[in-house]
Symmetry: C2
Subunit: 245 residues, 2 copies
């Protein structure tokens, strides 16, 4: 069997997320599997590097699938982009060793989160950022980022239930760039718990706007209680940029 | 009567263009007039700086309206952005002298047109650019821009019927910037005829891809025949950036 790796870009606005739900076709996985099944003539399932929530976007989601079809890689790329909806684009199709597994082999991920930090909203960024008009203290937020970088038990920054699996993760980069009225937050780490990026974002915003003390971060690491952390910011500001292997 | 000037940003994707069509509410003008009528309690009409076609966007469309309502400017801004659909945003509300007329007083306009110049399309730019994958010769296109800058009769680059009104316009700036896979064309001039930007764009693409000689531009100025020029590129790559007064 051939093992094919896909690099996928999608605008998540119209979808209920990555993961296929029964026969529903409102998911990214479902849409791609339907077209692959047409292409190969055999029911084909894909393995994603991980899920993304409803409304969340991807610039570099990775998935793989096994097939015995003889279709060439350029033909696959052409077929997929011809029949997929225009808000899902296959950027790259590669043949990989049979043992490659998009989820198990992932060693890290990069996410972006965008805040539209202006009084008046943006007509173009409405589905790609969170409109937050409060004034933000960048010095405080940068200091908070430094506290979050490193290896910690992030269970307090997740909506996971208690679990026997390790909830320790390492954040290698957490930085803020100001691009006009847009704030671009970059997260790089070896893995992220369920809703972890969005809850960290909510915590950073509460610290930046002065409604939460920066020391609360230490308390969340110690007490491991989700309700100590900030709000979960909306999914539409979140982009899965890259998966590392 | 007070005279109020609006600076408007809109994502034209869902609309049939700027200009109100009867009681239809699929137009930008219609949407804004409906909310203004609610706000003032009196049927209110707005004057735009000019029309934009279905699917065309604006970052800085200008309109004005007369009203005897006492509503303050910040209240107007708040009311409009609260009740308008999220793809139409009022960026600024200003009180202007009674003689100000958004169309008659405009002395120039700035437009952008975007070409997604890559083999594979973009999920995010699909409604904001024209996907054109042919390789383009920038030296030739820049030389063509230089020929177009200046004062000319642009009737051959328009889908206007013959008219008694002058079809002479001055283009002050026509430049190309490459931003990754995106090409950004900037047009600044004292006025643009119907579909002029999109027909000039089609002509530049045909010159850049080698299917049209650069000398054809001189012929179009001389013969003044629309069919000599290039295709009309799609409306979704076009943005009205600014109106000058």
């Amino acid at each position: 069997m051939r093992n094919i790796k896909l690099t996928i870009e999608y605008d998540g606005t119209r979808y209920s997320g990555w993961q296929r739900l029964g026969d529903s076709d409102k998911t990214i996985q479902g849409k791609i599997e339907n077209i692959l099944t047409q292409m190969t003539g055999t029911k084909t399932e894909i393995i994603g590097s991980g899920r993304t929530d409803a409304g969340t976007h991807a610039r570099g989601q990775i998935a793989n699938f096994k097939t015995s079809a003889a279709t060439s890689l350029p033909e696959m790329l052409e077929f997929l982009n011809r029949y997929l909806p225009r808000d899902i684009v296959i950027k790259k199709v590669e043949e990989v060793p049979e043992r490659f597994h998009a989820r198990y082999n992932a060693t890290g991920k990069k996410y972006s989160y965008y805040i539209w930090n202006a009084g008046v909203p943006s007509a173009f960024e409405r589905n790609y950022s969170f409109h937050y008009s409060d004034e933000l203290d960048f010095e405080l937020m940068n200091a908070a980022c430094l506290k979050l970088i490193g290896t910690h038990d992030f269970i307090g920054f997740s909506s996971l239930k208690k679990t026997k699996k390790s909830t320790t993760r390492t954040i290698d980069e957490l930085s803020i760039q100001k691009e006009g009225d847009m704030l671009h937050f970059t997260f790089v780490g070896n893995g992220f718990l369920y809703k972890m990026v969005r809850i960290i974002m909510g915590t950073l915003l509460e610290i930046g706007s002065g409604t939460m003390d920066i020391e609360t971060i230490d308390e969340i690491f110690e007490r491991k209680v989700r309700s100590d952390a900030g709000m979960t910011v909306p999914s539409q500001g979140l982009f899965l940029d890259e998966v590392y292997y």
